[in-house]
Symmetry: C2
Subunit: 159 residues, 2 copies
DNA sequence: GGCAGTATTGGGATATTTTACCAATGAAAG
DNA sequence: CTTTCATTGGTAAAATATCCCAATACTGCC
């Protein structure tokens, strides 16, 4: 374990910084500082602290799903035959390797997992099912629901 | 409508650029160029073209959900009383305003919408339901499923 | 094979931006 | 009022992005 990093509460300025960077991380320090009402130096230091504390986890580019030809989004509900930790871990490891799976949640209720999967078209989704998902051991049931359209998609957590 | 931007197929280098920037947009042009086997100039021009064509849509910072105290993730299945375009649009507009709703999909099958919502705790989720979601007109049914843990969460589309 | 036309690349100069340092300011406690 | 601590703001140096132009590779065509 590395050194302990103190985590005081985020104040209003920190939250504003997070909100802004969550919507556009290409703002210059000058622009960001202006928007939050600070000068460049303290603004820069706050951003660095948020990174060091692990509040800001990464900086990424987002890509248009249609531009990549990924026209199919599917939600898959999965039930395992057994729910021992060993089985859950094995499932999680397999899922994590597959790029088609963007999200996977362990759920309450009568389904164990909920997955969001993208594919170019129905046949490549079928290939994903046949060659990958259904070949996993210990799956009791799979149920696919297709998304007709993405009404909202945001990565920005409310601050 | 602005000028037409020609969209030739993405070649192997473009895809590599997209894969790299989807995982770390803070790479310098020099680092990115090295990794894709180009010098800075052509690499820079390719990135700019990907932005202009709308393949790269934005650059954002990602924030740790737990660090913000958002411990609850919920998937909500919603059925509307009617599914006329007018009703769908009204629902979509309302959803889009609420920061708690990170994702919303129009679905096939017996549910109209699937939402992913985050909240600090169960009581603030309850407040979201009572004060926002259930106050919308035209909703026939709401069904919440809670995520126990996030097994995988990725924004990086497969390229 | 050779040739013209087109698209892509690479290097270098310049403008922007990030980053580190240090003095100044403001708030809290005695 | 004074001391102490945390935060701020300005400035300069280093790193990076961006633009321009010549050189190279590629394509279609003869």
């Amino acid at each position: 374990m590395t050194g302990f990093i103190p985590m005081p509460d985020l104040d209003a300025i920190d939250r504003k910084i997070l909100a802004l960077l969550q919507s556009d991380s290409r703002l210059t320090m000058q622009e960001l500082a202006d928007k939050v009402g600070l000068s460049v130096s303290p603004c820069h230091r706050r951003v660095k602290l948020l990174e060091e504390r692990g509040v800001i986890t990464r900086y990424i580019a987002t890509v248009d799903q249609k531009a990549l030809g990924l026209h199919v989004s599917v939600f898959i509900s999965i039930k395992l035959a057994r729910q021992k930790e060993e089985d859950l871990n094995r499932f999680a490891r397999a899922i994590s390797k597959w790029d088609e799976v963007l999200e996977c949640y362990l759920m309450t209720g009568n389904r164990d997992y909920l997955l969001r999967v993208v594919a170019a078209d129905l046949s490549s989704y079928e290939a994903f099912l046949k060659n990958k998902l259904t070949r996993l051991d210990g799956i009791a049931s799979i149920e696919s629901s297709f998304a007709l359209s993405q009404v909202k998609y945001s990565i920005a957590l409310p601050v």
